[in-house]
């Protein structure tokens, strides 16, 4: 499903004006009487320095525009479709980690300025590309086709020197390392997974209402049983 077909389902065919330039998406959309800024990546983008800067720039523009012209800051919907960070000597030389940190600071500024932040995973959300902006939203939603991972099991087997068969066997019972949006849901890393039959407009509206600006993911991971140590361990340290 193309991202524009997704926007049609979310906002109706006349309800969105989102432009794709290469692998970058930006624009606005209307959900009921609420105006929403849309920023994201498409086509399994490998996020490099220039793409990271376009995302950051779009966030800063949204913050800047709403600081002066809008009575209330508009929500920002991030569309995450990324195969991860770009892998190149050039990007490393220039410090791609610093470009991603800059994007994260822009996301944080938007939150502090009162923008509600939502991520919708469409396609892939992988490793550093997912960390750069998608994972930093107030509420993270995944479309039914979403694939979420750090690394596929074969590569993981090579690095950890644990046999692929053993990893595959454990992947059935443990959400902790195997790819899959469902695993992230159980661990609190994804708030909701939408089904193909859902009314996506309604789900988006509901997600906007549920978005909280405090990071609730460790508590959710505990509640859902997929991440039973994160919240209690952080608590042990916090009260020590």
């Amino acid at each position: 499903m193309s991202e524009h077909a997704v926007f049609d389902r979310l906002f109706g065919t006349a309800g969105h004006n989102v432009i794709s330039e290469g692998q970058f998406l930006h624009g606005s959309a209307q959900l009921g009487n609420e105006s929403i800024t849309v920023i994201g990546t498409r086509d399994h983008a490998a996020i490099d320095g220039p793409l990271a800067l376009r995302i950051a720039d779009a966030i800063l523009q949204a913050v800047s525009a709403d600081a002066t012209t809008h009575p209330a800051p508009r929500p920002i919907l991030f569309i995450a479709d990324t195969q991860g960070q770009a892998l190149s000597r050039h990007d490393e030389l220039l410090g791609l980690n610093g470009y991603f940190a800059h994007v994260a600071r822009c996301v944080d500024l938007a939150r502090r300025q009162g923008h509600r932040l939502l991520t919708l995973i469409h396609g892939e959300a992988v490793s550093g590309g997912f960390l750069a902006f998608g994972m930093l939203a107030d509420r993270i939603c995944a479309l039914p086709d979403a694939q979420v991972r750090v690394m596929d099991l074969r590569a993981m087997a090579r690095v950890t020197k644990i046999s692929f068969e053993r990893l595959e066997e454990l992947a059935d019972v443990s959400p902790v390392f195997a790819p899959g949006a469902e695993n992230y849901w159980r661990m609190g890393g994804i708030h909701e997974i939408w089904s193909a039959d859902d009314n996506w407009s309604e789900r988006l509206a509901a997600a906007l209402v549920s978005a909280t600006e405090t990071d609730d993911r460790a508590a959710i991971g505990l509640e859902r049983g997929g991440r039973q140590l994160a919240a209690p361990t952080a608590q042990l340290v916090a009260v020590a």
Binding site: L94, Y99, A101, H102, V150, V176
Partner: protein, 299 residues
């Protein structure tokens, strides 16, 4: 062992910690006796550590209260798993309550621990949000990078979120490690066994010349201590102000200019040249003192 000359690179996390803070001032939270180990490593039959590879606690540094975390690079590459990440998150939560003069992160990590990859990735995003929250509250976080694993993957991003980044020449900072790039893109893209090249792409002298590291110090624990103490003093007189629109627009312009100016750069030599070193090829030979004297404005 002579504590004054001890290499930061070669020291363990606990040695770095005890040499960094005021003598006897460190108290550990969630210490090894509590055996807060990773059940996921156990499930995979991998070795565990009673501190899960990170030491967190409270100390004083030059008389100022600090909260501090030190990653142990010798334990699965300092990698971040569920417990390891939660200890750092808990420390940052605590900073919001205790308001120390600074939070110090002694980063020595390749990033996400693959044995518990999903938990590690989520944990790093939680650390990112927590660092941003702590700094928005006016408490500076410093990253110290000089260990054998450097600061890579998500911990490379966390490092660059910090108000200050202190590095040694031996320290390395990046996102994807050279081995990963070589494996995926081939040896002609990045030869990870060419140590000199690796340091020219990721090392402290390159990062300092770009301004990504804010201090370059000798590979000695007292040198890291002196830099941290000096920075704490500076933030006492000039408190951290939360990032606002103008600061981020400036950073946007700075990074855009970097991308444009070095659009085809593939070697640190090109950066050093631009940073006005008389002879870029000699930069690897310079002592830290000579380097800092010759460095004008970061490129």
């Amino acid at each position: 062992m002579n504590g004054r000359r001890i290499s930061y690179f070669e020291a363990s996390a606990r040695m770095r910690l005890s040499g960094l803070v005021d003598a006897g001032s460190f108290s550990e939270f969630c210490p090894p006796e509590m055996r807060q180990t990773s059940p996921h490593l156990a499930q995979l039959g991998a070795p565990q550590a009673f501190d899960d590879g990170v030491v967190v606690g409270r100390a004083s540094l030059a008389g100022h209260a600090v909260l501090i975390a030190a990653q142990e690079g010798r334990f699965i590459g300092g990698s971040v798993g569920e417990v390891h990440g939660a200890k750092i998150c808990g420390l940052l939560d605590k900073a919001m309550v205790e308001r120390p003069a600074a939070v110090l992160l002694l980063v020595d990590s390749g990033g996400v621990r693959l044995h518990e990859a999903n938990a590690g990735l989520i944990a790093i995003s939680e650390i990112m949000r927590a660092v941003l929250q702590v700094q928005a509250a006016g408490i500076p976080v410093f990253a110290l990078v000089g260990g054998s694993c450097g600061a890579f993957g998500g911990m490379g991003i966390v490092t660059r979120l910090c108000a200050e980044v202190v590095m040694s020449e031996q320290g390395r900072l990046g996102l994807s490690g050279p081995e990963v790039i070589e494996t995926v893109k081939g040896v002609e893209e990045f030869d990870s066994r060419d140590r000199a090249l690796v340091w020219r792409i990721t090392g402290g002298k390159l990062r300092r010349a770009l301004g990504d590291a804010t201090r370059l110090v000798d590979d000695l624990i007292p040198a890291f201590r002196a830099a941290a103490a000096d920075l704490i003093e500076r933030y006492q007189t000039h408190p951290l102000t939360p990032a606002h629109l103008d600061t981020l627009l400036d950073e946007q312009a700075r990074l855009a200019a970097r991308s444009e100016r070095f659009a085809s750069a593939r070697d640190g030599l090109e950066i050093w040249q631009a940073a006005a070193f008389a002879d870029a090829s000699q930069v690897p030979e310079l002592t830290v003192e000579e380097f800092n004297l010759q460095l004008g404005e970061p490129a």
